[in-house]
Symmetry: D2
Subunit: 377 residues, 4 copies
């Protein structure tokens, strides 16, 4: 693992998610730019090989015998350094799990896409929210035509933790996220807007083609957006509304999506992730609950507990790791991975994420132009 040390929130999540199937072992790491922090984290996690620097790690791991060296690397650093770390890992022959947004800039994203294609390595991006079983269920049922032709998708990612300028206080994860030099062009739109956008494309199977947006900064003095809203046009006539905000005071982590088609409407909310509502035009709505026998194969494949035993965020995260590892193993065995194994966000999702940020920034600060085409490069 690169990053994740000290008081980082996401490092321990990655670790727990990776461990869940007893199929992955944490063998080495460079958990912080501060070596003392890195050592302390490594000791707490019982890791033998702790490196001062990610370059050193890649070099020395690559030099180890095949049965000793790490098989893949999880990169959980701020996105400013994603590209160089991921590219080096791929060059050194390691498969990669990377936090989102994939890179700092669209240019880096394009280059990373090429790098993945050239090296043929397996690459996963942790758009965790698309890995919940209830989300898989929506995708499977929409693919099977249950909703008929799709019409509307309303997606939101609502937080309140940046409703004051807490980045000035230090000691929290707000600093780099609100600093354009570290997070890139997008603040809220990159940090959480990308999750909302990804969810909408993942579930519906459609792609945004143009959008009309506004990026706003509500907290005085903040040099980057803390609120992003967009009207979306997708392929095949689907329309969407997306609202991502970090200034809705008191909101925790509300990711909610509704998708309507001719025949019905799905409704899901991440904070109660095991419940999915489907509304019908001509009969009572149904409460679909994960872990039950009536679920689709795709949802069951991504479920660990029987009905009524709630699964949460770490289990969703673990689904990405499990499918990533299954794909790695399939390739290693010379076998084509199944669609279920390949069902994790990849470098194309990552590239489209950067294109989404680019398009939103282009549209979001323009007072005149209404509809902006999806930016490809």
């Amino acid at each position: 693992m690169v990053g994740g040390g000290g008081n980082a929130m996401i490092g321990p999540i990655h670790l727990r998610a990776a461990l869940m199937e007893n199929d992955i072992e944490l063998v080495c790491g460079c958990f912080s730019r501060n070596y003392e922090t890195s050592l302390a984290t490594g000791r707490a996690w019982h890791v033998q090989r702790i490196y001062r620097d990610y370059r050193e790690m890649m070099e020395r791991e690559a030099a180890l015998p095949a049965d000793e060296r790490m098989d893949f690397v999880a990169i959980v650093t701020p996105n400013k350094v994603h590209y160089e770390q991921a590219a080096l890992a791929l060059d050194k022959g390691f498969d990669v799990v990377l936090d989102k947004p994939m890179t700092f800039s669209l240019d880096e994203a394009l280059r990373l896409r090429d790098k993945v294609n050239q090296t043929g390595r397996t690459f996963a991006l942790t758009h965790t929210y698309s890995a919940y079983p209830a989300v898989k269920e929506m995708k499977a049922r929409i693919q099977a035509g249950e909703l008929g032709r799709l019409r509307l998708v309303d997606v939101e990612y609502t937080q309140g933790w940046l409703s004051q300028r807490i980045e000035l206080q230090g000691g929290n994860n707000a600093g780099w996220r609100t600093d354009p030099a570290l997070s890139g062009k997008g603040g809220c739109v990159g940090d959480i807007g990308t999750h909302a956008w990804h969810l909408s494309e993942y579930i519906t199977g459609e792609r945004v083609t143009e959008l009309c947006a506004e990026l706003s900064t509500f907290v005085e003095g903040r040099p980057i957006d803390d609120d992003a809203v967009a009207l979306l046009h997708f392929t095949n006539g689907l329309h969407g509304v997306l609202h991502a905000t970090q200034v809705a005071t008191g909101e925790e982590n509300r990711i909610a999506i509704r998708v309507s088609g001719e025949k019905g409407t799905f409704e899901w909310q991440q904070m109660e992730p095991n419940t999915l509502i489907i509304r019908w035009g001509d009969r009572p709505a149904e409460i679909i609950r994960t872990g039950n026998g009536y679920m689709s194969g795709l949802a069951k494949w991504n479920t660990r507990t029987p009905g009524g035993h709630p699964e949460g965020y770490i289990e969703a995260f673990a689904n990405i790791y499990r499918n990533f590892v299954a794909t790695v193993r399939a390739k290693a065995a010379g076998r084509t991975p199944t669609p279920e194994e390949l069902d994790f966000p990849n470098v194309i999702d990552g590239l489209r994420g950067l294109q989404f940020i680019e398009t939103m920034v282009k549209a979001g600060y323009d007072r005149d132009k209404k509809w902006v085409k999806w930016v490809e490069e």
Copy 2:
């Protein structure tokens, strides 16, 4: 009452709402253009004086002695005929309760505003959703500064009943609502979008100054919008997102609003109207329930039952009638009505409703212009 006969949904609602305080009596009516229907309705409702025609009704009622004639008239017809009926009633000296949208066109709305001002009659418009006690509570607390400076309002009015082209089947209320010749320029935006917009202004106390919108028709062959979405700019820096739709299959009548300020966020949903959530940045969210002692005076004034005894749509409707009558009585007694008595939608709300439709139509079909200023005339 003018209109409301036969299988109309809203006539009996008006009647029940009006009767609730035992302070209003239904004395005469012209319930349908079909006299037989009108007579049948009148008999069912124990009404003595049933007229063939609203003009006849206004004339003859006006000719009765003061203690016999009707005191005010409720007009519950399609908005095509609102102006002529309301204007005549005002001219004949009657106070008026009118269904929304107020008129067929903005021009009529301006003229009706002038007519109300000239005659000095009391005029109420039934934007029912703003009359729920929990909505009053939000208004009262925002006025008192509980949320601090406002930032965001997300409002939706989501229905699914027009997700098929049921207007072709007849026998339902879809016909005139989807016919521009009868409903005016706006379909969904006029029928339910105006409610969502009104709620946002009523609660926040701010006014929309410009908007960016899209009107869409999802059901093939329908000659008017069935979906309306807008980004809103209000006075004092408040931003909003509004989505009104009639094609979200399976949705009943979901009117939901969230308002965020620096200090907290309100959340309310019309289908569970007695519960209001307030989220805080630094402590647990609270569940505010109507009928309890901690409610504001404004909410209590509009509440009939103790906590835990749910009130519904008819009670909200009845609040408009009660406050309207209180105002009429105050004026009759030569007294200035209190703010609580005057707290019902009036002709200015109605005028702004038509301006909202006008602005939405102007913005909603324009592919180029992003922000459209609020249309005043």
Copy 3:
């Protein structure tokens, strides 16, 4: 109306419920033992004939010509005086709507049952909670066999308003309810336990045959139960658990019931009365919502608004009045009332309510005897 004046909670509820169909007019009353209060209430409600005393009222109304005198009387006094008032009204030829519990003692209940039978008058008891459309839906579906053989009913009526000894403060409705001299043997068990019991019999169609109970008083100094819990055995092998309490601090008016049979389980809660959940053994649970086309005829008959327009407590109350009046009119027309018209709580429900209190009191203070047979007389 007898009673209901001053700050009584239930008088205005009765009035609004009665008025809702524009089919009932309040023509006379004796609203309080205090004549000044009675006069004030009568003036506020526009009532012409206000009497000093219920006896005077019965006498004088009975002496009026048939087309002038009241048709029926609503008695909304404490249950201490129910019997004498209701019996006199019946004797004088008036139909009666009476608040629950029906009488002060089981003996009075038996006598009132006989009186109703002798006079042939129409008699309704306001067990309001059984009049919600969703409750009707459960009854209709169970009768149709949707749940298969019934097994379990869990019913609760949970309040917190008596969790302190507020009856000592005066000025509220707690005084007579906690005074055995005024309320009878049962406190909580009579005031709200009877509602819970009635709901369980109404919905399931089964009758309690024996029970095991405990009555408790949690608030020091209170001379009557404020908490009642019972295990219930019904006809046909149905088992139940009933918990009625007034000391669950902070609870408003939570009446909740679940009924399980071989095939499914119903779940309903009074504070969100328009939603009914039905769970199935082999497929997703369904959300049944009042006002929709798929509802049973019985539920539709008791519904006033379309789906998504919430109905509440007053509308449920109004269903009792409407069905009562429909029955009165049918009888007056020499027609046998339909089952839908007769669907309101009657004198047998009232008698069984007193038997329930009697049985609960007998069982609830007995430390030794476990199962107590339903007390018939």
Copy 4:
């Protein structure tokens, strides 16, 4: 690990829970009485040392050098064999994590308690539901006096999976649970009733002293209870109602508890485990959400994700393992474990669980005796 192989539900849960902190490694196992099944499970989980028999495992592991042998054993077999397996492990010097109910009989439970005391080993019982952070929060706040003197606890554990006689079909986990020869005297009361009972004592800090109960079998032909209901008397005047059932068709795994005291009421439901409601007598109810800064130290200690990132059943399970291991490490280091470290169900909880079953069986089939004292031996 002993047990957990093949299609067992609980084995993989134990494993994932144990792995979550990267502090436990699965080094050996005897996963099934069928050696082939055991080998297959072991291979899937990357386990080196797989034994044919738990006796062989204990013997041979004990003979290994201290730094090679297992440190503790998780026993996840049916309760019929718990005693002999756990006793042997303790005798061989291993700490033990054991599934509930602790043993087959009360006699075994008493002996196991003595064994734990004699050997001084650390022993944990997986009453998982008491390990959720929201449950810890209730315990911490009640200990701090937030509710005042406690009055009522209503607890339920409701399932529907045994509403048909699926144990005859084979291939599921119903077989041994409904066979008294394998599960002991209690069916539903032992399998899930014990969880409900444990939760009530854990949260309130009070102990049941006597109870009045009924055990029932609703599914024809089943030789053991599938429904258990009890009225409970606790120390310090607390009263309770407990309902555990496996025949509420369509219910998944509803564990719900409410606790009322003089000042407020807690409400929690396991299927949405991150939300806790607290109701107050004099102000709005609060929504307490895990992961937020206002939570108690005890809850935070048992939380892994920030607010809005849901934790589930596996994380609760993992809290038991983590606290168990922390206690083991503290003892190994010669340090007294902290109260937080010792906060997992122990052999006394296990013994009381068997006493609960014994008392419920004694009371539950007795038609005459109402209150049965808690059975100590």
